[in-house]
């Protein structure tokens, strides 16, 4: 059954992404100030939101694990975090490319970009912790606690960075341009691409989840075999 779901999702994602890409490249007009390069924004911002979606999923899954103690939730938390990291990386890299082409700098200590980097490091720490613990129950328990702490911390950091940046204004990566996208065609495309990327995220989480379940079963069998 899950195989069919994956196929359907995969097809949906493929269609959406291709269609969006076509529209982005050929149908949409150029933005007033920036020219064609701004189109990268259609991936930059939706990737950001897809990552947030993944992190929220990880938070909920981690909390559910601590309450229910079912390792399934732990697998979901891990998969969601990994996929979130992937999308966050897309967000960071597209941001860097955009900045380089538009303003000539690879990195701007822009509030949003800085926060994205911090988030990335925090959740990478989650993966590092998981790698360091062998026992599955211990790993699930401890990483669930870390996941909750991580979410609270990045939530607080978001506000803190904004205040920090207002006191040290620097080059701002035109997220402002995002706010001026009143043109409904452009706004619509943002939502469309978010839909595409979010669906891709779900697909990737499901695939990763299956991998994880299989790995768990193999580990269990190995332990059983060693005991004999």
């Amino acid at each position: 059954m899950t195989k069919n779901i994956r196929l359907v999702l995969g097809a949906l994602v493929g269609i959406l992404l291709l269609r969006n890409l076509y529209v982005i490249l050929f149908n949409l007009p150029d933005e007033m100030e920036q020219g064609p390069v701004y189109r990268i924004f259609y991936y930059h911002l939706p990737a950001f939101f897809a990552a947030i979606l993944c992190y929220i999923t990880a938070l909920v899954a981690s909390s559910m694990y601590l309450i229910k103690k079912n390792l399934r939730y732990d697998a979901i938390a891990m998969s969601a975090t990994e996929v979130g990291l992937a999308f966050a990386a897309v967000n960071l890299i597209t941001g860097m490319i955009w900045g380089r082409i538009s303003w000539g700098i690879w990195w701007a200590w822009d509030a949003r970009l800085t926060w994205a980097l911090i988030c990335w490091l925090v959740y990478f720490g989650y993966l590092m912790l998981r790698q360091a613990i062998d026992d599955p129950t211990e790993r699930a328990k401890n990483s669930a606690v870390l996941s909750i702490f991580a979410f609270v911390s990045v939530a607080i950091t978001y506000k803190a960075i904004e205040w920090w940046r207002t006191q040290h204004p620097g080059p701002v990566l035109s997220i402002r341009t995002g706010k001026q996208l009143i043109d409904p065609i452009m706004e619509n495309m943002l939502y469309m691409n978010f839909l595409a990327l979010a669906t891709l995220a779900v697909l990737m989480v499901i695939i990763r989840l299956n991998q994880e379940e299989m790995q768990r079963q193999i580990d269990g069998l190995r332990r059983r075999a060693h005991a004999i």
Partner: protein
């Protein structure tokens, strides 16, 4: 009928998918002494850790004095002697025992009393770092007994004890048993265990394959349990 001191009810414990304990059930009443035997890796230490409140059972229930092992009221009445001696090397003997007396809510004079009982009074103010191995073992015993626990949980207590420490421990355990305290100890030292035990349990690969009173055959030949109830 009074409630059993210790009740283990269909307990499972997993490491991942692997069952370290599989449907273990037994109970002990006050004044009884259980010898928990089994090969290395059978699950004895896992079971004892759950009883001591160090670990949680994945399934099933454990009740100590009618409470969960994590309740402070239960833990106050447990004396634990594990693999490590559980005292601080950089502190003196009297400092160590005073700390544990405080944590268990007994008066500090008990610390001094137990130093004397374990023949460590002459090194009361020396750091544990300087102690010989036998002295460290005796201090560990003092730590486990000083709050007069109603339930003693001992994980392979006779391993690596010198003769003085063995004699001390056996004496203390016999005394505790006579005073109606409950003892559960895992051990490979079958002879010492069979002398003290009122009940015997054999764990094999996480399953409790035998639980019952200590019989005359067991006392005569400690390996009787393995041969009769064990698988291989």
């Amino acid at each position: 009928m009074p409630e059993p001191v210790l009740a283990v009810d269909h307990v499972y414990k997993y490491f991942g998918d692997y069952p370290a304990l599989h449907d273990v059930s037994f109970s002990l009443n006050g004044g009884e002494c259980l010898a928990l035997i089994g090969r290395n890796g059978a699950g004895k230490t896992t079971m004892l850790k759950i009883l001591a409140g160090l670990s949680g059972a994945a399934q099933g229930e454990v009740r100590l004095f009618g409470d969960s092992p994590r309740q402070a009221s239960a833990r106050r009445r447990i004396g634990l002697l594990g693999h490590g001696i559980g005292v601080y090397d950089e502190l003196t003997a009297i400092e160590n025992l005073t700390i544990f007396a405080q944590l268990y809510g007994v008066s500090a004079s008990v610390a001094r009393h137990w130093l004397e009982r374990t023949q460590l009074a002459h090194v009361a103010n020396a750091p544990v770092r300087e102690f010989s191995r036998g002295m460290r073992q005796r201090l560990a015993v003092a730590r486990a007994f000083l709050h007069d626990p109603a339930l003693l949980i001992l994980d392979e207590p006779f391993t690596a004890l010198d003769d003085r420490a063995i004699a001390l421990l056996q004496g203390l355990l016999a005394e505790a048993k006579a005073a109606g305290r409950t003892i559960i100890m895992s051990t490979h030292q079958l002879r010492e265990a069979m002398e003290l035990a009122t009940h015997v349990a054999l764990i094999e690969r996480g399953k409790l394959v035998h639980f019952g009173p200590r019989s005359a055959e067991m006392l005569a030949d400690p390996t009787y349990v393995y041969r009769t109830f064990g698988a291989a």
